[in-house]
Symmetry: C2
Subunit: 388 residues, 2 copies
């Protein structure tokens, strides 16, 4: 089995970039990643994007961005799986390298929300849910998450403000991340007083839609000289897996269990040859705090119904039992849609290289990153490993 490694990472700050276009965001992240990979030349581009055909009236991003980035001629394609588009693009890049057909692949995640505003954005995001059965009823992503959260709180006797830990941790970790959208700690009282988005889901239970781009350069270990990148450790993709579920919640047997999060994380760990307690940190998909809770349970860090307690008990902080959202997660770094999964990978590589500065998890060797589309209708999980 060939080792697939991440030889370069790049990102743009996440935020509302009213003055920067989609292709320019992509350009910046790609330049940063190629520079970080000492100029390796990509032969293929996999673009993770969720909504550009709706938000920016622009499909066909593969060819557009390859050309704009000065890579005219390489193969290029868009990979879409709603909010999991970034993770799915990483998986396609991984498969391309593993096949031996591509030597160097560029994986890009890019999303540009601020080309539209307000209800137009909600409408665009709703195309990722079951259009014929959910979106037509006016159910937005936040409303759907609120239903999950309400049921979860009811079934598991979660107290009011029981989910505060997720936002507190994310915002604490975002402070030192210069690419994060929000870099300010919040207090428990701030969470408790926050306005409702869709009861019981408040403003701090939902990650902010934002613009951003992140990129990775993938290659095979055996194509690099043995001392390549030294003394910086190389990071390998040790496990890669994906799974799908129904889009609509009403089609599920148990709406409070994320099957795909379990299956994809389990398969990725199996491939990597590790067990859960070897994972040093978990970049979960905290588009909503209820997603974070359910992901912790599905992956196995908490028993069913107790994911929220890990956060409440401060066990997901940088010094906790299982550090999560180590650079701020989607809540504080921001949620650039289909780019999010690539941001997770960029941040995990920084952790595994020891470049995470004050957010560093000491001696991190294995990171689990998980990218979800909708309420885990798609889940893509990767185990990244530091090579010594």
């Amino acid at each position: 089995m060939t080792d697939v490694v991440i030889a370069g990472i790049g990102q743009t700050p996440v935020g509302e970039h009213w003055e920067i276009g989609l292709r320019d965001l992509a350009f910046d992240a790609i330049q940063n990643a190629i520079k970080d990979a000492s100029g390796l030349k990509p032969q293929a581009l996999f673009v993770g994007n969720m909504l550009a055909p709706n938000l920016s009236n622009q499909a066909h991003l593969g060819a557009l961005i390859a050309d704009y980035a000065g890579l005219t001629g390489i193969e290029a394609v868009t990979v879409e799986a709603a909010g999991a588009s970034g993770g799915a693009a990483l998986r396609q890049g991984y498969l391309a390298i593993a096949s031996g057909m591509v030597d160097v692949a560029l994986v890009l995640g890019v999303e540009k929300f601020t080309d539209k505003i307000g209800p137009e954005v909600e409408e665009a995001v709703s195309t990722t849910s079951d259009s014929d059965f959910e979106a037509v009823q006016g159910m937005t992503a936040a409303a759907q998450a609120a239903l999950l959260m309400k049921r979860y709180m009811h079934e598991n006797d979660v107290p009011a403000n029981g989910f505060a830990g997720f936002a507190l941790t994310a915002h604490a970790n975002g402070i030192a991340n210069k690419n994060a959208m929000f870099r300010k700690a919040i207090k428990a009282e701030t969470y408790a007083k926050a306005e409702m988005v869709s009861d019981p889901l408040n403003m701090f239970d939902a990650a902010p839609n934002a613009d951003g781009a992140a990129a990775l350069v993938l290659t095979r270990r055996d194509l690099l000289p043995s001392d390549w990148d030294a003394p910086r450790p190389l990071v390998k993709i040790a496990g890669s897996a994906a799974s799908s579920d129904t889009l609509a919640l009403h089609d599920r047997k148990d709406i409070l269990y994320f099957d795909t999060a379990q299956i994809s994380a389990g398969n990725a760990m199996k491939q990597a040859g590790i067990i859960l307690n070897q994972v040093n940190f978990f970049e979960y998909h905290d588009a909503f705090s209820i997603y974070a809770a359910l992901s912790l349970e599905a992956v196995g860090f908490a028993i069913k119904g107790r994911g929220w307690k890990l956060a409440a008990d401060n066990k997901i902080s940088l010094t906790g039992k299982i550090p999560c959202a180590t650079m701020g997660g989607m809540k504080a770094r921001g949620f650039p849609g289909g780019a999010s999964g690539v941001y997770q990978a960029v941040e995990a590589v920084a952790q595994l290289r020891g470049q995470a500065e004050v957010n560093q998890i000491p001696n991190a060797k294995y990171g689990l990153i998980q990218s979800l589309g909708g309420p885990a209708s798609t889940a893509v999980s990767h185990i990244l490993q530091r090579l010594d």
Copy 2:
């Protein structure tokens, strides 16, 4: 190198299916393909689709269709590269099998145009061109093709009605294809009297947008018993390659040469270890007749400026030097957007198996299929080979 084979094919009739939804079209094609593959169980789904987020307000097709087809849980993703989405999905499926990470992959192409009508469709299609520089000027796909055609006719002294051969061949070949949208021959006079869409491009120079779905089951040769499918010959993917170019025509050095068609076809043939005159038939991307002419030239069947003459001289018919659009092509079979590239593969497999009935190319061993996005802004080429 592992042999990747196409173990099953399926399709729905192409047409205006006002009463059939996108997921139902997909369901039918998938059922047909799995049945044709003797029930092999897919572990992954690659959906080629161009415009569902705009035309049907439905993104996240991977998970949606996997579930609807009774394959809940498998990994599933959408692959988009405008009109080349079908070819691109096939390439992702190929890479997945070649990587050894996936044993059985389902490649689906699906498009549902009739969820919208008229200008809404034009607007949706325009998202595949350069939105900031072309679409905003009101340049539709047909207008862009007309510009190419006009310049081509001027530079190469093409007489009025010089492109008629493409439509005549396509419609002649469509008669016996029970899945084709148009099954009636046309005469040269019919072409000559046709209404202009965008001068000099008339109604018969443009393939009709249509609904349809086609599917393929891919696996590794070594996973099948040696007598599998006998006496039907197995079909192997002997070559697979893709390339990208600028979306906007004004960014090109020579608008009358399809670089990506040349590069991707050349690389696919190189991988297959064959030269051009071993190719028994060519399923080109005749969304517009000018595309067909330029593809014939880029691939090498005609010198620059003479592609139209191959058609005019009847050399692309079933008994010609290089049979093209053997089941009617996009012109007569219809153009179901991102499904088109998968239809090409289904039709090529039928040819290579000897199942093409009255349209059969005798003893066909190698077929070249080529899927384009925009004016060859993306090109994906595959060489399919009959295994004896």
